[in-house]
Symmetry: C2
DNA sequence: CAAATAGTGTCTGTTAGACAATATACT
DNA sequence: AGTATATTGTCTAACAGACACTATTTG
């Protein structure tokens, strides 16, 4: 098997033709709702359908670098703004018939971004937009991207439990209330403000105080909130667990 | 970008040549020690080095199916025995220079198996063996397989916390003590027998009693233990958390 | 002032973990 | 008999979640 592997390798033509793409499930929060970056396909197959931003991996780039490049192209971002976006590998999707043209293995990635400007329409990107996740049901999605998105959303919900990545949806400085809004938005239900506040501050390394406070209180009243930045923890211990989901366990 | 993608797709020769392999980090427990399935490479590159079992994905098989096929080929297993092995995708590894011959993206998988017979040397498999994980340091590993194994081991440790997959290292019926031995072996340190026992039985759906007990007590004395089988839970709630690892958190 | 919000205090039920105790079965 | 092991009991500290309360700010 490895002998054959070795011999075959010297003439790539002997391999079944496989293409490798990198796709990105990019999430952000706009106006209190979870949004997802989608592009509109301008050519068959799935012409006119929505799809995840992505494309063929370039010859000399790592998978994650390819994903970051695709993200940069579609969002028009670069430099520090781009670097602050959290990006991780989500998983690979390689069902033989997932692309009608040929065998394509997609290495999907997951990104958490703070609120970003609308995608630059001027670039070479096809129409790209931030779509509320709640509006996904009404969209036709290309390939198996509906499944990929589902997996990405579940991964995001799970990551918020045991990592401090919720802060990646926010700017460098944020209030506990803003952080709570991230959790409520991603998890899809309200949390108890008092308990959340105490819990966040008690987890070592989750957030650290900047010493400063917001300039103004809430738009409808209330005191000014203290400002925090992300701490140095890479895992939350103890974790912030989602309220029991007995139903989903079996 | 998608236009180009579409056009390019009709002639696979236009793509940079990429090969996709499926590799398997297969773990089992033998004589109280965690073991890993490795093969010995019989041809360059990395001739004579150890490597994960794996090979090119076949044209009409899904990624996970390819991994199961490779696992079957190397272990000589089939049917029910093969089906009981837990198999999941671990992640994809695609650094441009990870294979000196050409661009190869490896989709790694992770397998948990009960104690299995030694790999059938008669098959077309190259020399395959179960190696104690503790002996890995003394091995030369091909490609980036050392990194893949590391990631697989960490995933395994983590999965034992919040899923009932520890049972997949055991036969269909097992005692709580045997289950504890799995945790101790994978996590690498002893657990409190009394607390573990109570905890396992208190997690809904983790294990269910068969009503029977072992035929004999322990080899050095002690009562007969009750037998259990895996329950219907897919997630452990509450989870069995590893003892605090404050150090690894930052 | 009325309403909303940030942040803290208190209480209760659950859980993790240390430790102890008991009963059983091996050599 | 002596020892190891399975299983259960007890206690304590930590934690999650419910609820209440105070102080602060906006309109």
């Amino acid at each position: 098997m490895n002998e054959q592997e070795f011999l075959a390798a010297y003439d790539p033509r002997d391999h079944p033709a496989v293409a490798v793409t990198v796709d990105v499930v990019a999430l952000t929060i706009r106006e209190g709702a979870l949004h997802l970056l989608l592009v509109r396909r301008g050519a068959p197959p799935f012409e006119g359908h929505s799809a995840l931003p992505g494309g063929f991996v370039h010859p000399d780039e790592d998978l994650i670098a390819g994903a970051r490049r695709e993200l940069a192209e579609e969002t028009g971002l670069g430099g520090e703004r781009l670097r602050r976006i959290h990006l991780e590998q989500l998983g690979s999707y390689g069902a033989p018939d997932r692309d009608p043209r040929m065998r394509v293995v997609s290495v999907a990635h997951l990104a958490f971004a703070p609120d970003l400007p609308d995608p630059a329409a001027g670039s070479d990107a096809e129409e790209a937009l931030w779509l509320p996740v709640s509006a996904l049901a009404s969209r036709q999605l290309a390939f198996d991207h509906a499944r990929v998105i589902e997996d990405g959303l579940e991964r995001a919900r799970s990551k918020l439990e045991y990592t401090p990545l919720a802060t990646r949806f926010l700017d460098a400085e944020f209030t506990v209330t803003e952080l709570r809004a991230v959790y409520e938005t991603v998890w899809g239900h309200p949390l108890h403000p008092g308990n959340f506040h105490r819990k966040v501050l008690s987890v070592p390394g989750f957030v650290e105080s900047t010493g400063a406070s917001t300039e103004r209180g809430g738009s409808r009243g209330g005191p000014r909130a203290k400002l925090y930045r992300a701490g140095d923890a890479r895992l939350l211990h103890p974790a912030l667990l989602r309220p029991a989901r007995e139903e989903t366990v079996r």
